[in-house]
């Protein structure tokens, strides 16, 4: 249900206020789809690139947790792990 809501949210952005946003292509890899679906609803994906490659694994874990706990991002637990693993592998050190 939550995933459905987020997908709706993401598609709403694709056609409305974000018409002028250029797509940000992240590195291909396992989990990229989860990153796009879970992170891209609330912010453009250049946020992730901008904050790289300096984060340690601990820092990426903390950032994902912050998005869920402090910002209320509706990310399922298994997705959260996939997203964090992807970020550590491709945008961490």
């Amino acid at each position: 249900m939550r995933i459905f809501a987020l997908a709706l949210l993401a598609s709403a952005f694709a056609v409305s206020a974000m018409a002028d946003e250029k797509p940000v292509q992240l590195k291909e890899g396992p989990g990229l789809d989860k990153v796009e679906a879970n992170c891209g609803g609330c912010h453009s994906l250049d946020y992730l690139v901008m904050n790289s490659p300096f984060p340690t694994a601990t820092l990426w874990d903390a950032e994902v947790t912050k998005m869920i706990k402090a910002f209320g991002a509706p990310i399922e637990e298994t997705d959260a792990k996939t997203v964090a693993d992807y970020l550590k592998k491709y945008y961490g050190r």
């Binding site: 206020a17 940000v24 609330c42 453009s44």
Partner: protein, 437 residues
């Protein structure tokens, strides 16, 4: 928050604006390449203020080498609707900084003024139906004010620097997560509006009130994300220069700078300058939202600042308040080429929290010796103050030029960065390497 008051942005209109801006970017880029080829781009034309003027079009990314590698990879010149090409750090929410060339004058043009949002839901506000609700449990009454209502009140003008708390965050070593700003998350404009005090006096603030709380029309995408709500102490809200501004440099505020009205808190960092303001509340208890705590905090005892926000202080950290004294060399970008034996003028801007800049010193030998720069006209104690220093480089080679400012209460810039968890208050002495050929 969103309501029927606000129209959503027409994507078609945005597309048209974007195309026009892309052409501007292309022109700017080709001119920049041309100038870079001739070497002329490195030296600003000398103007009456000593060191030149902003050269529209001839702007570059000039990304500082200290920025994280990913920031350098993703930052581009990009124009938002109604804006010149600025340095895009994130598209959504839009975070765009001003290229350094626009800081060759004390006033930053509206269409080059930096853009900073925390949340992605940014409605286009209709000025006709916009109103700000003023009240709260710490007020005696409640009233809505339209734009016309505000304009009927005594109009106050103040020239003031609006600087993001995290300006230069991207230069911190070790890196700090967040928006990785270079030097341009700031600007100085002539703001015009009604005094916040005059508006508050209309509803009456109870003597028990301790904070004034602001909310704007922009909000989160997901309901559970904390809305961007900020408060300031009553004493600051009641100062003569604290405004609800509806004009910026003689024009209505640009959409991306808070149209139709925003809060102006001269001397304090931009976090309190709430855009598209729709609600102003007097309260008798401290505001507890995310954006007051844990966000926008500095550790106790690290910075020698005067203005305090006591109702928000804890044993370990305090809210960020006033800006630290700072300066920036803007006449020459990193790696600029100049000719040996010819006089050059190093210029830039200095600012503080409104105590007043007293001196700017320049070093042309990597900090070994310092000379006083000539200060430009003072446009008010909260404004950028231009400075200029002329000299003739004799020997060829790489030369490090540095600037440092001091203010009336003895505050100076740091020669060693003061580390703090959120990367605030970066006022490390700015240095630029120029090539004397």
């Amino acid at each position: 928050m969103s309501s029927p008051l606000f129209r959503s942005i027409d994507p078609h209109r945005l597309t048209q604006a974007r195309q026009a801006h892309h052409e501007t970017v292309a022109r700017a880029m080709s001119r920049r390449r041309f100038l870079a080829g001739t070497g002329a781009a490195s030296i600003a034309a000398l103007g009456p203020n000593g060191f030149g003027s902003a050269r529209a079009g001839a702007v570059g990314l000039n990304l500082p080498s200290q920025l994280p590698e990913g920031t350098r990879a993703t930052a581009v010149l990009d124009a938002l609707p109604g804006k010149k090409p600025l340095i895009k750090l994130s598209y959504r929410p839009p975070n765009y900084e001003t290229p350094i060339e626009y800081f060759r004058t004390a006033i930053t043009p509206n269409d080059a003024f930096f853009v900073r949002y925390h949340l992605s839901n940014i409605p286009e506000v209709d000025a006709e139906t916009w109103k700000v609700a003023v009240g709260g449990e710490g007020a005696n009454g409640q009233n809505d004010f339209t734009l016309d209502d505000l304009k009927k009140m005594p109009a106050i003008e103040v020239i003031a620097v609006n600087q993001c708390s995290g300006n230069r965050r991207g230069l911190f070593q070790p890196p700090v997560p967040g928006v990785e700003w270079g030097y341009g998350a700031m600007g100085c404009a002539r703001w015009k509006g009604a005094r916040l005090k005059d508006v508050l006096d209309k509803v009456g603030v109870k003597k028990e009130a301790i904070e004034i709380v602001f909310d704007g029309a922009d909000g989160p995408v997901v309901d559970k994300t904390p809305d961007f709500i900020k408060s300031i102490p009553v004493w600051k809200a009641m100062e003569d220069n604290t405004l609800i501004a509806y004009e910026m440099n003689g024009q209505p505020l640009p959409h991306f700078n808070g149209f139709p009205a925003r809060i102006i808190v001269p001397g304090w960092t931009g976090t309190y300058w709430v855009k598209h303001v729709t609600s102003i509340k007097a309260v008798t208890k401290p505001e507890t939202g995310f954006w007051m705590n844990p966000a926008y905090r500095i550790p106790v005892g690290k910075f020698s600042l005067v203005a305090r926000f006591v109702s928000q202080e804890t044993a370990v950290n305090v809210p960020i308040t006033e800006m630290v004294v700072n300066s920036l060399i803007t006449s020459h970008v990193e790696g600029a080429s100049v000719r040996a034996g010819f006089p050059i003028t190093i210029g830039g801007i200095a600012w503080d929290a409104g105590y007043g800049i007293t001196t700017v010193e320049l070093s042309t030998d990597a900090g070994k010796t310092w000379q006083r720069a000539k200060l430009g006209k003072e446009l008010g104690r909260f404004a950028f103050r231009t400075f200029a220093y002329s000299f003739t480089p004799r020997s060829k080679g790489r030369r490090i030029v540095m600037a440092r400012a001091a203010n009336k209460i003895g505050q100076t810039q740091t020669s060693e960065l003061i580390l703090n968890p959120a990367g605030y208050h970066h006022n490390l002495i700015h240095s630029v390497a120029i090539n004397v050929a």
